[in-house]
């Protein structure tokens, strides 16, 4: 059997597809570009399923490795591989693209080919960034991704799109600038750009501190963590529905992914030392941002803030491992927290992504993101309202939906760290419910408030399909998350193992 280079295929197929779509071009044969894009998205998903099928759950290391010398002069390799941490992200990327293509079937009328091309390119780059084993390759994908998303927000975004897109770009670019230096520094000492080689490095505390901060800046911006989160509400709000979905579902995950790949295993001693700082930042994200979300009048902005709050959970789960291990002295206890963070990320992708699609659907019809322009949508679009209720509930973290799993695991492990951490983290139970359901109530419930809603256009089939896919995932993951956990269980163990030993040279 010829072994297909799955990962390369998953990266380059959509990018080539994007080129094809671009050349099929013009708005005149927009339908053709849609079909092609959909086809590519489906093929990617199928390939991804093959990848998943061949994926070994027990192997903690990289699988499906591809390693070609790329720039020998600098020692850079085109090295790909997935482990349990990146596997779910790769799956997530392909699903998200499919959903986005479906959701934008009818809503985008201008520059359709370019719009779809940005998403296909983004998919390739997302898979790339999650499967890069070479740190420079990682950085290349990481930065390159900014281009399509920048264009996406800027061209198809809302009224304030220019500000939002530039802010997004500069923020993330500035954040990741220092990461490059850190990678180069590590490379000078490890004589290799391969991430696993970095793990073997022994670094003194001051060096670790600086490297930690460099990575932290890059990843904190992406997550985003307070106080470098302000790009997100703007970007999410102004982006077209698909852009918001990709931002929420994939882009933000990069931050946590980075923490898991770089911060924890490379600079564990610093992590250990400044853990409380990280936890405080995470809790600020959860509580402070949760409170801010309550007063938002713009639906997208509200969901954007809720995103930050949810990602705060993931950060909490990621960094809490140090305290848990310090308190219980047992590495096994830390799994719950880290796996909670992973599942929180995955679940957030689906539920928040779906909410953005839903809001996009409303926006296409009513042309407003303001909550007060809505009311009584459930009368006209009952199925849509029901689906949105599922996503809202997942956002609230209700058991039975995917949103619950991560929160549950993280809050439960937070108690191991400290009562007060758990206390503040659990406040999301109330805050999350307050803002999500308040919005839901105002938008979907009540009397029909305007002519526009009275005459609202029903959902198109692709939109419904996208939402149904997501709803199914949200519920299945909520009811039976174990298969997802199994994917990354072994690799989480690996990361924990690396993260919990001192790397100070002896």
């Amino acid at each position: 059997m010829i072994h297909l280079p799955y990962l390369s295929t998953l990266i380059w197929l959509p990018i080539l597809g994007a080129i094809v779509v671009l050349f099929l071009g013009g708005d005149k044969n927009a339908h053709l570009s849609r079909m092609v894009a959909l086809g590519i998205a489906i093929i990617s998903l199928l390939i991804c399923c093959l990848l998943w099928a061949d994926f070994s759950y027990t192997n903690a290391g990289y699988q499906f490795q591809e390693n070609v010398s790329w720039i020998p002069a600098y020692g850079i390799n085109y090295a790909l591989g997935v482990d349990g941490i990146s596997m779910p992200m790769v799956i997530l990327s392909t699903i998200t693209t499919l959903v986005v293509v479906l959701a934008s079937w009818h809503s985008i009328k201008r520059h359709v080919a370019q719009y779809l091309a940005t998403f296909l390119v983004m998919q390739g780059m997302m898979v790339g960034v999650f499967s890069a084993v070479d740190s420079i390759l990682f950085y290349v994908f990481w930065e390159a991704m900014l281009i399509p998303i920048y264009l996406n927000i800027g061209i198809w975004g809302g009224d304030n799109r220019v500000y939002a897109s530039v802010k997004f770009f500069i923020y993330t670019f500035a954040g990741s600038a220092l990461m490059l230096v850190a990678i180069l520094y590590l490379r000078v000492h490890a004589h290799s750009f391969m991430i696993p080689d970095f793990y073997a490095l022994r670094l003194t505390r001051p060096v670790q501190d600086l490297i930690f901060i460099a990575f932290l800046l890059a990843f904190a911006v992406k997550v985003p963590m307070w106080p470098v989160h302000t790009w997100l509400p703007d970007a999410h709000t102004e982006a077209p529905a698909g852009g918001s979905v990709v931002l929420a579902a994939l882009m933000l995950k990069l931050g946590i992914y980075g923490f898991l790949r770089f911060n924890l295993p490379i600079t564990p001693d610093t992590g250990q030392a400044i853990i409380w700082g990280m936890i405080v930042l995470a809790l600020i994200a959860i509580v402070y941002i949760g409170i801010i979300a309550i007063m938002q009048k713009d639906m997208k902005r509200l969901i954007a803030y809720s995103s930050i709050s949810h990602m705060g959970f993931a950060v909490l789960g990621t960094f809490m491992v140090y305290i848990i291990v310090a308190k219980t002295g047992n590495m096994k206890d830390a799994y719950l927290s880290l796996e909670g963070a992973m599942i929180q990320m995955i679940s957030h992708a689906f539920s928040t992504g779906a909410l953005f699609i839903g809001i996009g659907i409303l926006y296409d019809r009513i042309h407003s993101r303001m909550i007060h322009d809505y009311g009584g949508v459930a009368h006209k679009l009952p199925v849509f309202a029901a689906l949105m209720m599922v996503f809202a509930l997942s956002n609230v973290g209700l058991p039975g939906t995917s949103g619950f799993v991560g929160e549950f695991m993280i809050i439960l492990s937070a108690f191991k760290a400290s009562f007060w951490v758990a206390f503040l983290a659990a406040s999301t139970l109330i805050l999350g419910a307050a803002y999500t359901l308040w919005m839901y109530k105002r938008v979907f419930f009540g009397k029909i408030t305007s002519e526009k809603i009275e005459n609202i256009e029903p959902l198109h089939f692709p939109e419904l399909l996208a939402l149904f896919i997501l709803a199914a995932i949200v519920i299945v993951m909520g009811v039976y998350p174990l298969p997802v956990l199994d994917i990354f269980h072994a690799s989480v163990g690996q990361i924990l193992h690396e993260s919990l030993m001192s790397k100070i040279p002896v």
């Binding site: 290349v140 800027g154 670019f173």
Partner: protein, 475 residues
């Protein structure tokens, strides 16, 4: 020792220049087509000759006046190739802008000849002569648009300041000559190495003036102030010309004077270079933000890029020099694209100078917009364009040379720099066109421009060969 076959390219270019001169004088031609063809032929011929001679091992020729080495060859190749593109982009522009008959081509050829001499010079005399032969036609090119007050003003500024810089360079060289007793670069290097610490002072004195002269040619702070004015004032084609090949030649100048002539003084000159490069990145990137004229913006960006290129010299390691060389080549490509775009966009009586002139380019000509997008992202140093790898090489050299702080400064300033490139992209892609007429550009220019733009992307995906060559040169 006179090895004439090694100077065949120079002889060919000179001979062809004279042919062009005569043809231009005596053959009546419509729209300079023949001159243009001959010019391109010259470049292609020179390219072939240089490539054929590439494998000849390093030879010091003409009694140490010139050297034939891979550095010179590669720089020459880059100069030819970029000039071919420059001439191609400028043809239409020169056809409808009243810039005389064949003189621009002729002056361009002479200037290229100067660059060829410059990059292969191995003696202060040839170095200086090459430099002047490169510069003098450029002064004229800048001012050649006779009906433009701005062009002549730019020419004058360039000329006077250039002359001052030459004077400083010469003053510095005279000191080095006095201290080492030779004008020959190899002997100077030997002399410098032989000078003990106590007697280094005069060398440093000369060095400062030499660096000032170099910095002027490269257009870096604080010797940069001519650059925005000249780039803006010159006709687009001239801007295009001076923004590309002379920068490559300036790299040669820098390499010959600093790396070849004064390797043992690297501690001193690297300090100067670091300051200059930080200042350049700072001023270039910051002032570019406030520009509304795209040529001026790119001029400031070119100052900043000069600063980045110097980072490679700041590292004072072979890896640094080769990274700087790679950066220079990449910058030449990017600059070619950037200024080429403006030249291509210009119509009769319309210079396409304002950033606003690019409004809605994506709607008017998506392909052009896309290429420009690649060029701008490459300038900003965003992967997967080659601009990123150029910066990466520099940063790696810096970090390896324990100049981590400098790498950090460079990156932070790169972030500032990204802003104005993004603004241009914003104008091209996000803004609505005020004028919905599609932009038409001749096929050959489109092809050339496409190659130019895609090369930036292609080299970004497969940069290793070029990087490898650059590495070979300094290792």
């Amino acid at each position: 020792m006179l090895d004439f076959h090694l100077i065949l390219p120079e002889m060919f270019v000179l001979g062809m220049s004279c042919v062009v001169l005569l043809v231009d004088l005596f053959v009546k031609q419509r729209q300079q087509a023949l001159t243009y063809a001959l010019t391109q032929l010259t470049m292609i011929g020179a390219l072939i000759l240089t490539v054929l001679l590439y494998s000849v091992p390093t030879t010091v020729n003409f009694h140490g006046m010139i050297i034939h080495d891979s550095l010179a060859s590669i720089l020459r190749i880059v100069i030819y190739v970029s000039s071919i593109f420059v001439f191609m982009y400028s043809r239409d522009y020169m056809r409808h802008q009243n810039t005389g008959q064949g003189e621009p081509y002729l002056l361009g050829l002479f200037s290229i000849l100067g660059m060829m001499v410059l990059v292969s010079s191995y003696n202060f005399i040839t170095l200086y002569l090459g430099l002047e032969l490169m510069s003098l036609p450029i002064y004229a090119l800048v001012a050649l648009q006779r009906d433009s007050a701005r062009a002549s003003e730019a020419g004058m500024k360039y000329f006077i300041l250039g002359a001052i810089a030459s004077g400083m360079l010469l003053y510095g060289m005279s000191m080095l000559y006095g201290a080492t007793g030779s004008l020959d670069i190899a002997n100077v290097a030997y002399g410098v190495a032989a000078t003990d610490h106590l007697h280094q002072l005069i060398l440093i004195f000369g060095l400062v003036f030499v660096v000032a002269g170099l910095a002027f040619k490269l257009g870096v702070v604080p010797f940069h102030m001519w650059l925005p004015d000249v780039y803006t004032g010159a006709p687009n084609a001239a801007t295009l010309f001076i923004a590309v090949a002379p920068k490559v030649a300036a790299f040669g100048l820098l390499a010959r004077l600093l790396v070849y002539a004064m390797p043992t003084l690297e501690l001193q000159w690297s300090e100067l270079i670091i300051i200059i490069s930080i200042l350049s990145m700072f001023v270039g990137n910051f002032v570019a933000i406030a520009q509304t004229n795209i040529k001026r913006m790119l001029a400031y960006s070119s100052i900043a890029h000069g600063g980045y290129m110097l980072l490679g010299f700041a590292a004072t390691t072979p890896a640094g020099y080769s990274a700087a060389l790679f950066y220079t080549i990449v910058y030449a490509l990017m600059s070619l694209g950037g200024f080429g775009m403006i030249t291509l966009m210009a119509k009769k009586g319309f210079e396409a100078e304002s950033i606003e002139d690019l409004r809605g380019l994506n709607e008017r000509n998506p392909w052009l917009a896309f290429l420009m997008l690649i060029i701008l992202f490459s300038m900003a140093g965003i992967p997967p364009t080659v601009g990123f790898f150029a910066k990466l090489g520099l940063l790696e050299a810096l970090v390896s040379a324990h100049l981590v702080w400098l790498a950090v400064v460079a990156l932070i300033l790169a972030v500032v720099g990204a802003y104005y490139y993004l603004r241009v992209i914003k104008v091209m892609y996000f803004d609505k066109a005020t004028n919905n007429q599609p932009i038409k550009i001749s096929t050959d220019s489109t092809v050339a421009f496409s190659i130019n733009g895609l090369l930036l992307l292609g080299l970004g995906l497969f940069p290793s060969m070029l990087i490898h060559w650059c590495h070979l040169i300094f290792s």
